[in-house]
C-alpha cells in the first residue's frame, strides 16, 4: 500500500503487485496512470498536480508516486 493525499483526502492505494498488475519487482512505485485506473478516472479529461507541480500527461506512465505525496486531480466544471 501507498499513502497519498488526493484532493485533500488521505487515500491508501494498493501497489501494482498487490492488484496483480504487471510490474517489475524493482519498480514498485506507482505511476499516475495506475492511480487514475484505481480511482476510475482513467481516460477522463483531467489534469494532475503533484506536490504543487503540474504532471504533464506524457509523464503519466513514469513511476513517480511516493508515500505522502499530495495530488490534485481537477476537471472543468460550469462556472462564470
Amino acid at each position: 500500500m501507498i499513502q497519498l493525499i488526493v484532493n485533500g483526502q488521505p487515500q491508501r492505494i494498493p501497489l501494482p503487485q498487490e492488484t496483480g498488475m504487471a510490474s517489475k519487482p524493482d519498480h514498485q512505485i506507482l505511476n499516475i496512470t495506475q492511480l487514475l485506473e484505481h480511482m476510475g478516472l482513467h481516460g477522463k479529461r483531467i489534469a494532475v498536480e503533484r506536490n504543487g507541480e503540474i504532471v504533464p500527461r506524457s509523464k503519466f506512465d513514469q513511476p513517480m508516486l511516493a508515500d505522502g505525496d499530495r495530488l490534485e486531480i481537477v476537471v472543468a466544471v460550469g462556472g462564470g
Binding site: 488526493v6 476510475g40 477522463k44 504543487g52 503540474i54 490534485e72 476537471v75 472543468a76 466544471v77 460550469g78
Partner: protein, 266 residues
C-alpha cells in the same frame, strides 16, 4: 466585419457567457446556443472522488472544438491559488493559454483583490498565458494591467452576481478611453438594457453568467442578451444624438399644418 479581436483571434460575437448555475447540462447548452457566444468560461475544480465514474462531464456537452474555452480562477483568494489553477487549466485544455484571471478579496462581495491580481497577472504573462483579467473599475489598475501585458481588461459593472447594472459609467468611460486592448464588462449585468448600455458606452464586449442563468427563462434571456449586445454595439458605432432638455426642432415639418380656429394667422 465588426469583430471582437482578443490576442490576435477574431470573434463575431461580443457576448461572452459563463456556464455555471444552470439547472442541468441541457439547459447550459441551450442557453449558450441561444446567446451565440463563442467564448465560454469554465471553472477548474477537484474531481469528486469515489463518485459515479460515468457522471456526465461539461466538456461532453460543450465540446472543446466548438467554443473558445476561458478557464477562470473563480474562488481563488491568493495569487498562488490563481496561478496554480490556470497552470492546471492549461494542462487540462491541451496547452490552451487564453485564461480569465480573477483573484477575489472577500467572499461576501467577491470584489477583486487588486494587489494580488496585479502580481498574478505578472507571473502569468511571464509564463506566456494570454490573460483576460477581472478588475475593479479603477482606471489606474486597468492601465497597470494593460502595461503588464493582459490581453483584455474586464472591469466589473457592479458586484458579481448582484445584477445591479452599471453603477459607474464614468469610470468605465475613462478605462475605455485609455485602453488599447479590449475592455469587456464582467459582472453586474442584470438585464438586457444593462448589456446594451455597456456596449453603448464603447465596451468591446460583455461577459455574464448569473443574468442569464438566474433569469426565470434562461434560454430566452440568453437570446435577449445576444440582441442587446448587438443593438448596443450598433448604437455605439452609429453615434447617438446629443442629449438636450428640450428641442426647438420637431421631427415633422413646421409649416403646412392645417388651420384651426385658434390659428392666429386667420
Amino acid at each position: 466585419m465588426d469583430n471582437l479581436v482578443i490576442a490576435g483571434k477574431s470573434y463575431a460575437s461580443r457576448l461572452l457567457v459563463g456556464t455555471g448555475k444552470y439547472k442541468d447540462f441541457d439547459e447550459t447548452r441551450a442557453a449558450v446556443d441561444a446567446s451565440g457566444a463563442e467564448i465560454i468560461t469554465v471553472a477548474i475544480r477537484r474531481t469528486n472522488l469515489g463518485q459515479n465514474p460515468d457522471e456526465p462531464n461539461l466538456l461532453d456537452v460543450l465540446p472543446l472544438s466548438s467554443y473558445t474555452f476561458l478557464p477562470n480562477t473563480a474562488g481563488c483568494y491568493t495569487l498562488e491559488d490563481a496561478v496554480r489553477t490556470l497552470r492546471l487549466a492549461r494542462e487540462l485544455l491541451d496547452g490552451h493559454s487564453l485564461v480569465k484571471l480573477e483573484v477575489l478579496g472577500d467572499p461576501k462581495t467577491l470584489y477583486p483583490n487588486m494587489t494580488e491580481t496585479l502580481r498574478a497577472a505578472e507571473i502569468l504573462v511571464r509564463e506566456d498565458f494570454q490573460v483576460m483579467v477581472y478588475t475593479s473599475d479603477d482606471p489606474i489598475a486597468a492601465r497597470q494591467l494593460e502595461e503588464i501585458g493582459c490581453v483584455a481588461i474586464m472591469p466589473l459593472a457592479s458586484l458579481i452576481g448582484s445584477g445591479m447594472g452599471i453603477l459607474n459609467p464614468w469610470n468605465l468611460q475613462i478605462i475605455i478611453e485609455n485602453a488599447a486592448v479590449p475592455v469587456i464588462v464582467d459582472a453586474g449585468v442584470g438585464t438586457a438594457s444593462d448589456a446594451a448600455i455597456a456596449m453603448e458606452l464603447g465596451c468591446d464586449g460583455v461577459l455574464m453568467n448569473t443574468a442569464i442563468a438566474a433569469a426565470r427563462n434562461p434560454v430566452l434571456m440568453a437570446s435577449a442578451m445576444k440582441k442587446a449586445v448587438e443593438a448596443g454595439r450598433e448604437a455605439y458605432l452609429a453615434g447617438r444624438m446629443p442629449k438636450k432638455i428640450y428641442s426647438a426642432s420637431p421631427s415633422s415639418p413646421v409649416s403646412g399644418v392645417i388651420a384651426s380656429s385658434k390659428d392666429k394667422s386667420v
